[in-house]
């Protein structure tokens, strides 16, 4: 039998961890429990559940930034007015994540720490230039998500350290948010390829600013300054997007797996850019 601790405060958690340094933390368990069943994660002597830690479950704002508690569930974020108002690209991604049941259990912190190339919150978090807040009870470290995630399933998280929050600047300079995931069905689908985009479009339809990222087409989320540069200053048109699509197909580094071939992922990475043709700044 595995012991499960349910601390209500971080202080309680740190003291538990001190006594059981081998314990594994989990939030929704939608990744961890699955991996324990298949043996990908060896059973730990104890589990510490984060779901009752109000301290790291809320969403707060300052004048120009938003802080999301790591243990906030996807469903909570999808309902949250601050997220809905400021981070449409994230809500679009959350809508495609798993199913209502998975969104009720799974958390943003879990999605980040799992660091899957197919993690659906990651492409938005990359272009939102999210920072992660890591704490071990004594010191706090802050780094960009790009620095934090070092490879498929690999992060800079250290033993005894907890991801406590995600920090985001309000992306006020962008007036168009877009996320699209290609999966093998419409829900409960692991991304075969995905793309997140933030654009600032002038009333005349010129792309003034652009940030783009792709999921599931490389060991970590793919960003590409050359593609962004190819868009910025250009009129939003099929030609512009097709040219950028040609570039990203060269950059992504997908693999063949049971869900799709690398070739398909490469094609789709480019094709998803064409969807931006419909982009309109909010009127």
């Amino acid at each position: 039998m595995t012991q499960v601790y349910l601390p209500r405060t971080l202080a309680e958690l740190w003291s538990y961890l001190e006594g059981k340094p081998e314990a594994l933390v989990y939030a929704g368990g939608t990744d961890l429990l699955v991996k324990m069943r298949t043996g990908k994660v060896t059973a730990a002597p104890a589990l510490i559940c984060l779901e009752r830690l109000a301290e790291i479950r809320d969403v707060r704002e300052t004048a120009d930034a938003i802080r999301i508690g790591a243990a906030a569930t996807h469903a909570e974020l999808l309902r949250h007015p601050l997220i809905l108002t400021h981070l449409p690209v994230l809500t679009q991604a959350l809508h495609t994540l798993g199913s209502p049941l998975i969104r009720n259990m799974g958390t943003i912190g879990g999605n980040i720490c799992t660091a899957s190339p197919a993690g659906d919150t990651l492409p938005p978090l990359y272009i939102l230039r999210a920072e992660v807040e890591l704490c071990n009870g004594e010191t706090i470290r802050i780094m960009t998500i790009e620095e934090f995630i070092t490879g498929p399933g690999a992060t800079q998280l250290q033993k005894g350290e907890l991801l406590t929050g995600v920090l985001l600047k309000k992306p006020v300079e962008y007036n168009f948010h877009h996320f699209e995931k290609v999966g093998q069905r419409k829900s409960m689908a692991c991304a075969v390829a995905s793309m997140a985009a933030l654009l600032r479009l002038s009333p005349a339809g010129v792309i003034e600013a652009a940030r783009l990222s792709w999921g599931s087409v490389g060991p970590t989320v793919v960003t590409a300054a050359v593609v962004e540069d190819a868009l910025i200053g250009e009129k939003l048109s099929l030609e512009t997007l097709a040219a950028a699509a040609g570039k990203i197909k060269q950059i992504v580094a997908p693999i063949d797996d049971v869900r799709a071939t690398a070739e398909y992922r490469r094609s789709v990475s480019g094709n998803l850019l064409l969807r931006l043709l419909d982009a309109r700044p909010p009127s």
């Binding site: 290609v182 093998q184 069905r185 419409k186 829900s187 689908a189 049971v258 789709v268």
Partner: protein, 794 residues
């Protein structure tokens, strides 16, 4: 009191587990007489919704032991050694058994007995069992299974039908006289393929369909124990409890009267529980468990690896027609990959061959089939039994022909649709209800067809819309060579209730509800007074398997006779009690028999008390009629060819294709189905919708992927079945006809709907984008590749 009710049900003992009248429902639903033709609620709805209904998987018991199987993990090889020493030493392990410990023939199989319960000298697919462990708990079981040392010398394997047919191919069964060919058969009608030469138009193409998994919720499982008198009781998730008894008896050498099989409602089956899964293993385990209960329950991965599958098939087609679209001649070659053991492979292929020409008049045909052993997982029965595969090919050919002729695809189908009196492509005269023409007409009249052109113009940027149709059919019943029989039993209980003893499983298709309706219709009792007993070899009578769209048809016909007999008896015995000198004034009414002339009545409880127990029980047998044509073809089929009765359907689908991703979005679906008369509109629609949903999965995403016989996607994270969002609104039109041989004019409706979605969607894809894909499923990746190829070719 729902909780009390659940509690009571949980403590009811195995042996008197019939369906008590649903007290909980009584308080909420006014009593009604379940009658034919009404959308009577499912008999199992209340108990299933409250969780009170016990599936086999819900059976545990005190002092329970767990049994599990060590699988080969090697697709083809010779067993050198199975060392069970370490496992047997583990504390908590009760028994470790190998093939050498199997008494009897150690052979299971429905028609061909070629599958060992536990492999002895050779393994033929990764899922072959090499050892059986019985342990105190699940953790010990897992540990013990991992301690068994299995040494297998790998042999070269064969993993496609083509490979298996090569002259130098390794043999899956060395002792099989025809090498890797389980069955080679031919159906010929008219002048056969010679007639192709004289056709104005000749088209040919090759189609491929992959392995599909049944993906039922309740995986294979059961509980077994040995009673003091030596008898073994098995509660099991099965489609064929009586045949199980024969199979176990043969494989384990146990006399039939030492086996007692109980088959509760199933949490899905679709053909995958038609044949031995856990049965022989569990009974063997029980023989070593000193009377304790033993449970075996495959997890999802084991269910994929060891369970049955739908056959992958390659289909080479040549179709000849006149310039006006009249079909003239067909030649096809079908290669069914049946995997490591026969199971129902030959019968599945037989049905596929019988349907290879579609529901059309084709005077000259040559249909050749090879059912081939490979080292892949075992293929067997699945909804649309061999027919779902060929439907893709014959409807694909019809679309090609329509395209070639520039003809409306629906018109082309109507022109060639079978009518009563025609001979079908297997040369059988259609003597019974034959409603495909009416189904096609219903689709043609529907707004989805009439307004399709405008709808297609509404596609957004980077999207294309298309509409496809398919005409399909599915035989019902076992066909010639195997008596399709049921024995119905109905009783007036001492409580004055009517109890129907069903010998044929309800895996969710709703036959149990139809039985309640038949009893209600004839015996005029309220639903609260009609009880159902699910299959149990000591209480109910052999009625065949839950398969072939036959359960309501065959058992229902038997039940009508049994209920009519009981009705006669109740009236006749009342006459004695009321001293009536004529039966004419007596009427069976809810809870009583009344003399309408005198107003006097006898409650059924009183009548039951007066009647002798054997007088209160009526038993009747029904045997399905068979084809009378003397056919000089298909001689290779020992059983299962040809069939007398078919259900028909015309399907229409509206799809939108995303040109950027290749994804097909199914926007609307229409099915017009002829399955005789509709006994229960709700049950009918559920069968149609369920089949369409499963068919959409087959069309778009379901595919068991294998590398040298090893399944690489044995779970629901990677074996993709559609979810609620992938299935559109489905409109079901019942195109009724009367099938005189059916109970109240019905035919089976469970399978035919499975056959339409793949060809209809493939047709819609061609309509939308001009691409003709002949390998399914139609995944986004395949569609995008075809679109890219289309762009490259000028």
């Amino acid at each position: 009191m729902p909780l009390c009710y659940v509690f009571l049900r949980m403590h009811s003992t195995e042996s008197d587990e019939s369906h008590p009248p649903d007290t909980e429902e009584t308080s909420r639903v006014n009593p009604y007489i379940p009658e034919i033709g009404k959308p009577v609620p499912r008999a199992d709805a209340g108990a299933k919704a409250t969780g009170a209904e016990k599936y086999a998987a819900d059976h545990y018991g005190e002092d329970l032991l767990w049994a599990g199987v060590r699988r080969a993990g090697v697709a083809h090889g010779r067993i050198r050694r199975v060392d069970t020493e370490a496992a047997a030493q583990l504390p908590g392990v009760i028994a470790v058994l190998t093939g050498r410990d199997v008494p009897g023939t150690n052979r299971q199989g429905i028609v061909h007995k070629d599958q060992p319960v536990l492999a002895v000298d050779k393994v033929r697919h990764c899922g072959d069992g090499v050892a059986l462990v019985v342990a105190e708990d699940r953790a010990t079981l897992q540990k013990a299974l991992s301690l068994i040392q299995v040494e297998i010398d790998p042999l070269p394997g064969v993993f496609t039908a083509d490979d298996a047919l090569r002259p130098d191919a390794p043999l899956v069964h060395e002792d099989h006289p025809q090498g890797n060919v389980l069955l080679k058969a031919t159906i010929q009608a008219g002048d056969g393929q010679a007639a192709l030469a004289g056709c104005d138009i000749l088209l040919e193409d090759t189609f491929h369909v992959p392995v599909q998994s049944h993906a039922f919720i309740e995986t294979e499982n059961g509980v077994a124990w040995q009673e003091e008198d030596g008898k073994v009781v098995l509660v099991v998730s099965t489609q064929a409890p009586f045949r199980d008894k024969w199979e176990i008896s043969h494989a384990l050498g146990l006399p039939l009267d030492r086996l007692h099989i109980i088959g509760p409602y199933l949490g899905g089956a679709f053909g995958g529980k038609d044949g031995a899964t856990v049965q022989c293993l569990l009974v063997l385990a029980a023989l070593h468990a000193s009377g304790r209960r033993v449970k075996m329950w495959w997890d999802r991965e084991e269910s994929f690896i060891a369970g049955y599958k739908r056959h992958a098939v390659r289909m080479d087609y040549r179709l000849g027609a006149r310039a006006d679209g009249t079909l003239q001649a067909l030649h096809c070659r079908l290669y069914y990959d049946t995997g490591a053991y026969a199971h129902l492979g030959g019968e599945v292929m037989a049905l596929g061959m019988e349907h290879a020409g579609g529901p059309y008049r084709i005077p000259h045909t040559l249909i050749e089939g090879w059912c081939v052993y490979t080292n892949n997982p075992i293929a067997g029965a699945m909804r649309g039994f061999g027919v779902a595969q060929v439907s893709f090919a014959f409807e694909g050919m019809m679309d090609l022909l329509a395209g070639k002729l520039g003809m409306d695809p629906l018109e082309l189908r109507r022109k060639n649709a079978l009518r009563r009196g025609d001979r079908n492509a297997a040369g059988v005269t259609m003597t019974q209800s034959t409603g495909i023409g009416d189904c096609l007409a219903a689709v043609q009249d529907h707004p989805l067809w009439q307004e399709r052109k405008a709808w297609k113009r509404g596609a957004g940027p980077f999207r294309k819309r298309g509409v496809g149709v398919a005409a399909v059919f599915n035989a019902m019943g076992y066909g010639r060579g195997l008596p399709d029989s049921a024995l119905a039993k109905v009783e007036l209980t001492t409580e004055g209730h009517i109890r129907v003893y069903s010998g044929v499983s309800d895996m969710g298709q709703g036959n149990a509800t139809a039985f309640v309706q038949i009893a209600g219709q004839i015996l005029c009792q309220e639903h609260t007074a009609i009880e159902l007993v699910q299959p149990d070899t000591e209480r109910t009578l052999p009625s065949g398997s839950a398969s072939a769209g036959r359960t309501t048809y065959t058992y229902g016909n038997a039940l009508i006779k049994a209920c009519e007999e009981l009705h006669r008896r109740l009236i006749g015995r009342t006459a004695l009690m009321l001293l009536s000198d004529t039966l004419d004034d007596l009427e069976l009414l809810p809870g009583r028999v009344k003399n309408l002339a005198s107003g006097r009545e006898i409650p059924l409880t009183v009548l039951a008390a007066m009647m002798a127990p054997e007088d209160r029980v009526c038993i009747s047998q029904f045997l399905m009629p068979v084809v009378r044509d003397k056919l000089d073809t298909g001689k290779e089929f020992v059983i299962g060819f040809p069939h007398l009765l078919f259900s028909y359907a015309a399907h229409l689908v509206c799809i939108e294709v995303d040109k950027l991703t290749g994804a097909i979005d199914v926007k609307a679906y229409l099915a017009a189905t002829e399955a005789g008369r509709v006994l229960n509109p709700q049950s009918f629609e559920q069968q149609v919708q369920g089949a369409i949903a499963q068919g959409i999965g087959y069309a778009l995403c379901e595919e068991v992927l294998m590398e040298k016989g090893r399944i690489v996607n044995p779970d629901f994270a990677t074996y993709i079945i559609p979810g609620a969002l992938d299935i559109p609104e489905m409109v079901s039109l019942a195109v009724e006809s009367c099938e005189p041989s059916g109970p109240y004019g019905m035919k089976g409706v469970g399978e035919v709907g499975m056959n339409g979605p793949l060809p209809a969607i493939a047709g819609a894809l061609a309509d939308a984008c001009g691409i003709h894909i002949t390998g399914s499923p139609l995944t986004a990746e395949r569609v995008l590749a075809a679109l890219q190829k289309q762009q490259e070719t000028p």
